[in-house]
């Protein structure tokens, strides 16, 4: 199977699954999923996934080896922007700008 086809499969499968979650929530009677442990796990799951995604995408190379480069400085800039309660696009823009400037200055 070609890589492009795999990507399309992943896209369509994930989109269908996401719609599945949404329609599930609207369709099951309240009380079935409204249990304390379900809510707790549902609140913690995105925290684990987002933290892992942030770390892996900042600190690993394409092949998964650990590395520190200009991306970490960019992420730090995003962190500062978040502390200052900047809007989403400003946060992302700060990260991109700092990373790009460092690379321009010769830092990998």
């Amino acid at each position: 199977m070609s890589h492009d086809l795999l990507v399309w499969l992943a896209i369509l499968g994930m989109a269908a699954g996401c719609f599945g979650w949404k329609i599930l929530g609207l369709s099951v009677p309240a009380g079935v999923l409204e249990r304390p442990w379900v809510r707790r796990v549902a609140a913690l799951l995105p925290v684990a996934l987002l933290a892992a995604l942030t770390a892996v995408q900042t600190l690993t190379t394409g092949s998964g080896q650990l590395t520190v480069d200009a991306r970490l400085a960019g992420l730090a800039a995003a962190g500062v922007a978040l502390l200052l309660r900047a809007p989403f696009l400003v946060v992302v823009g700060a990260a991109v700008a700092v990373t790009a400037l460092l690379r321009l200055a010769g830092v990998s």
Partner: protein, 232 residues
């Protein structure tokens, strides 16, 4: 209320630019980025899927992680559903795609059913139109720029994840523990496993922290009981 709806819709809707740009920088085509925004329409999962593709290799483990990120929308549906009064299956099918973070926030903030319905539709419409339009703009723009790493666009993905993560850390200390353990698990396994799998493994942080938390809570309770016994 409508001002809230449009405010949230516009503020978040324009972030589609970041998604479109990140998607193309991660190796998706403009069409793939747009289909994701149209059909998945839930930001965090979309970014996660792009991360899976950007890492190269088989994107399917990463797609599972992206799907797990979407599970919170089911809980939103539970709370929003009764306010919207969707009695027919057809109504539920029409509304479902729009049950996401922002529409839920606006809908739950309304004082009555009528304004809840109005707030939901207004936020959903603004957000859907803008998110998809700006995804296209970002994707086309990034394609025109050429090599994404030269402009630092490869850091847009992690910056988005961080921006989505930070508000979710508020509330309980166990969330910091979960984030910390997840980062350690993902980084420690990443050199040895195919991309996407370390992200899935990181979800083990949730049961680990919950079990450890229960142990500690029980330990404290036992200690408290014992000291009470001794005091008597």
């Amino acid at each position: 209320m409508l001002r809230d709806s449009f405010g949230v819709g516009i503020a978040v809707g324009v972030s589609g630019v970041a998604f479109g740009g990140t998607a193309v920088a991660g190796g998706l085509s403009v069409a793939q980025a747009c289909v994701l925004s149209l059909l998945a329409f839930t930001g965090a999962s979309q970014f996660a899927l792009v991360a899976a593709v950007a890492a190269g290799g088989n994107p399917l483990p990463g797609a599972v992680g992206a799907l797990l990120l979407g599970s919170r929308n089911a809980l939103y549906g539970l709370r929003v559903g009764p306010l919207l009064g969707l009695s027919r299956v057809r109504q539920r099918l029409a509304a479902a795609q729009f049950v996401i973070d922002e529409t839920t926030a606006v809908t739950l903030a309304q004082p009555d059913h009528r304004s809840a319905r109005l707030g939901f539709s207004a936020t959903a419409t603004t957000l859907f139109v803008l998110w998809n339009a700006t995804t296209l703009a970002g994707a086309v723009g990034a394609t025109a720029l050429g090599d994404p790493s030269r402009y630092g666009l490869d850091v847009a993905g992690p910056a988005c994840f961080l921006a989505l993560l930070v508000p979710q850390l508020r509330g309980a200390r166990e969330r910091y523990w979960v984030a910390g353990v997840a980062v350690l698990v993902a980084l420690a396994t990443s050199p040895y496993l195919p991309s996407g799998v370390p992200i899935l493994l990181a979800t083990l942080a949730v049961p680990l922290v919950l079990v450890a938390g229960r142990r500690t809570a029980r330990g404290t309770r036992v200690a408290a009981d014992e000291s009470r016994e001794e005091g008597r």
